[in-house]
């Protein structure tokens, strides 16, 4: 088993995400993270799904995803073939930051930043690999974390114009 990131290019349509997730559910594949947003092509959305599976199964899942009518294309990648990140937000009592310099040092050391400072609480933001945001979490924890949240993975493939090559074909076909 290995971690794979699947990028799925879709029409923007109600219910489509559900169709895609049932493909995983049905095969008992746990979705470790999922994000959705508009892609570089206006109107076409992109889901990024992270799973840990055997490659043969990933191949089949990708084909089942592509089989859905409003899915343009799905690609799967090993971690070395993509650049990826996750973002984490940490909420801490502001007085902790004003009482000791330790928290500030941790924030600097991790290249995190202060996103908002309110009289009662402060929000720290860190973008990086999961291990990095987790590491920061562990270090901040003794100082009292009020809330913590981490986004799903977003990733970009190292191949040039992966989807665009495909999409130009689609556009050509649509013009016929």
């Amino acid at each position: 088993m290995e971690q794979f990131t699947i990028s799925i290019y879709t029409e923007n349509m109600i219910g489509l995400l559900h169709r895609v997730t049932t493909i995983f559910t049905r095969r008992h594949i746990n979705i470790e993270s999922i994000t959705a947003s508009e892609s570089e092509v206006s109107g076409i959305h992109r889901y990024t799904v992270v799973i840990t599976e055997e490659e043969v199964n990933v191949k089949n899942v990708v084909k089942q995803i592509e089989k859905q009518i409003e899915i343009f294309k799905a690609f799967y990648h090993r971690n070395e073939d993509i650049v990826y990140q996750e973002m984490a937000l940490y909420k801490m009592p502001t007085n902790i930051l004003s009482q000791t310099r330790e928290v500030e040092q941790i924030v600097r050391k991790h290249h995190a930043r202060l996103l908002a400072v309110e009289p009662e609480f402060t929000i720290i933001e860190k973008t990086g690999f999961k291990e990095e945001t987790q590491d920061l979490f562990e270090q901040l924890k003794p100082h009292g974390i009020l809330e913590f949240v981490r986004s799903g993975r977003i990733s970009i493939s190292k191949r040039m114009k992966e989807f665009q090559d495909y999409y130009s074909e689609v556009e050509k076909a649509s013009r016929l």
Binding site: T10, E11, I14, G15, H18, R19, T22, R26, K59, N60, K63, Q64, E66, K67, I69, E70, I71, F72, V170, E171, A173, S174
Partner: protein
């Protein structure tokens, strides 16, 4: 509410309700028959239908499941899209079995459900169910419509998706307010969806490679499925088989794509298939799979399936390539075209030794299984096989055979000699008991001039027995053969073979089927003795109108050959 529709004699308005738009869209798609059942949330559509009675015939089944199977039978035989109509809530959920069946057996049907008003959605309103979510895994595509103006495009897309590429079921859920709303109607059929590639381009290199592999084969075997029927590739397939001279075997979904008695047709694959094709699957050196998907009922233990062979797969759906069986050459595309190209690319050859091997295995099965099934000892009970074979002979192999699920299904497919293209309608992938009666009604509407015979067990008959009412009311002619073994036969067989004869809940205490049939105005007869069989079959087949023939058969007959679950095709048992 005042109907806004106009009768035919008046000029057709273009500002119409969503409900009327739906009906006109269906007519624009050349639909002339639909199957359904009314109810609250679909009433505006039924009201619109009232005005279009002449153009659009609505067949009211006795249950929405029946409507889906009827639409399936209709679609499978006519090659057109089958259409169903149902109300929200229970009406919609009753469609699920038929949708699942159509999804697994690649049948083009469009189901239209009414939905509560858009304002009520999400409030747990009366008869509200989230049918779009419920049906998602069993549809090729589905959508909810809340605005009348979106109806024409949704219908156009639905028909295009249902019938293109690998066909499948589509569901459109239309809220009641969208059915009432009026708008300016225009209709534009759909021919293209930018994210959807139904017909992959055939790669000429794959054809060339496949041809080279076939040319080098010494013991090749063709296995074929539903894809040939769906692609309308009768001539192309027959030409391919005859030019190559390669023996061919069918999945139950591929049955009737090649005449049963064609000299190169060596029979049925899989669990209760024939001996020769199963054994030869694990002896061949090249396996050419055409329009089939290596279902587990066909492959047995897939890790021991045709391991010695190079496998060529002609398939329209990329998701089927390497799904169950890893192949050496994949020829993606519509098999009507790929078969044609492949036939041109191969060199004709003869395989006398290999065909001799087939003959040998066929003889073995004849000796050990078929003889006893067709010519049982005088004092034995009637067998299912002799009934089917007599019906086959008397109907000259020309009838449409619609089967339910169980032992009788396997027997009907094994012993009816199909001599006409596209004549077998069965529930293959889902194995839905209760399929046959409504599907036979649909098949008759799909081919009014052909004889339709439903072959059903005493168990499955009682799953959709209410559709006798549909027969009664529509007066179409469907012959119903009940092969009554007073058991849930197929389950009993498994209990016999694998659960040491612990017969748990398989014993059927049946009603008098003749009285039931007569209640519905359907002529009926029951045969218990062999000497009465022949004349009864003649009356059954020549009767003008529907006829129910019940034949009491041996209670504990088992279907052989059989590949037990988990066994390899080569471990097929003859007894």
């Amino acid at each position: 509410m005042e109907p806004t529709q106009l009768t035919k004699t008046q000029v057709k308005k273009t500002t119409i309700t969503g409900a009327e738009a739906l009906v006109r869209a269906l007519i624009a798609e050349k639909v002339d028959t639909i199957f359904g059942y009314p109810g609250g949330a679909i009433m505006p559509v039924y009201d619109a239908l009232y005005y279009y009675e002449k153009e659009l015939k609505h067949i009211m089944t006795r249950h929405e499941q029946g409507a889906t199977h009827a639409a399936q039978g209709y679609a499978r035989i006519s090659g057109k899209v089958g259409v169903c109509l149902a109300t929200s809530g229970p009406g919609a959920t009753n469609l699920i079995t038929g949708l699942a069946d159509a999804q697994l057996d690649s049948t083009a049907i469009v189901c239209i459900t009414g939905q509560v008003s858009s304002k009520m959605i999400g409030t747990d309103a009366f008869q509200e169910t989230d049918i779009v979510s419920i049906s998602m895994p069993v549809t090729k595509w589905n959508i909810q419509i809340t605005k009348a103006k979106d109806i024409p495009a949704a219908i156009a897309k639905a028909f295009y998706i249902a019938k293109s590429g690998k066909p499948g079921p589509v569901l459109i859920d239309i809220t009641k307010d969208a059915q009432f709303e009026t708008f300016e109607f225009t209709y534009e059929p759909c021919h293209h969806i930018r994210s959807y590639v139904p017909n992959p381009q055939i790669d000429s290199k794959a054809i060339e490679l496949a041809a080279r592999v076939i040319d080098s084969a010494k013991k090749p075997l063709i296995v074929f499925g539903h894809g040939i029927l769906l692609a309308d590739a009768r001539k192309e397939f027959q030409a391919f088989v005859e030019k190559t001279g390669i023996p061919a075997a069918w999945t139950i979904m591929g049955l009737s794509a090649l005449n049963t008695d064609h000299p190169l047709n060596i029979g049925m694959l899989g669990m209760h298939g024939n001996y020769a094709p199963n054994i030869m699957t694990n002896e061949c050196d090249v396996l050419i799979a055409v329009g089939m998907r290596f279902d587990d009922r066909v492959t047995g233990d897939v890790s021991r399936y045709a391991k010695q062979a190079k496998i060529i797969h002609l398939e329209i759906d990329p998701a089927e390539i390497n799904k169950n069986v890893t192949v050496d050459v994949a020829v993606l595309g519509n098999c009507k075209e790929s078969l044609d190209q492949l036939t041109k690319a191969i060199t004709p050859k003869e395989y006398p030794d290999w065909l001799h091997r087939a003959k040998e295995l066929i003889t073995t099965e004849n000796e050990m299984v078929i003889k006893d099934e067709l010519f049982p000892p005088e004092n034995d009970k009637i067998t299912m096989g002799e009934v089917i074979r007599r019906i086959s002979d008397i109907s000259k192999g020309a009838a449409i055979i619609v089967t339910d699920v169980g032992q009788h299904q396997m027997i009907a497919q094994r012993y009816y000699n199909f001599r006409q293209w596209k004549s077998n309608v069965t529930s293959g992938g889902l194995g839905t008991m209760g399929f046959a009666l409504p599907a036979a009604i649909g098949a008759k509407f799909g081919a009014p001039h052909r004889q339709v015979i439903a072959v059903i067990g005493d168990g499955g008959f009682q799953m959709t027995i209410q559709e006798l009412g549909t027969l009664f009311q529509t007066r179409v002619d469907v012959k119903i053969l009940i092969l009554n073994n007073e058991f849930l036969g197929m389950v009993r067989q498994w209990q016999d073979l694998f659960f040491e004869k612990r017969y748990s809940s398989v014993d059927m205490v049946n009603p008098d089927f003749q009285i039931i049939a007569k209640g519905y105005g359907i002529t009926a007869e029951k045969v218990t003795e062999r000497e009465d069989l022949e004349s009864a079959i003649h009356r059954f087949l020549s009767h003008d109108g529907s006829f129910l023939l019940e034949v009491l058969v041996g209670k504990e007959n088992n279907i052989f050959p059989m590949i037990p679950t988990g066994a390899s095709v080569s471990e097929i048992r003859l007894e």
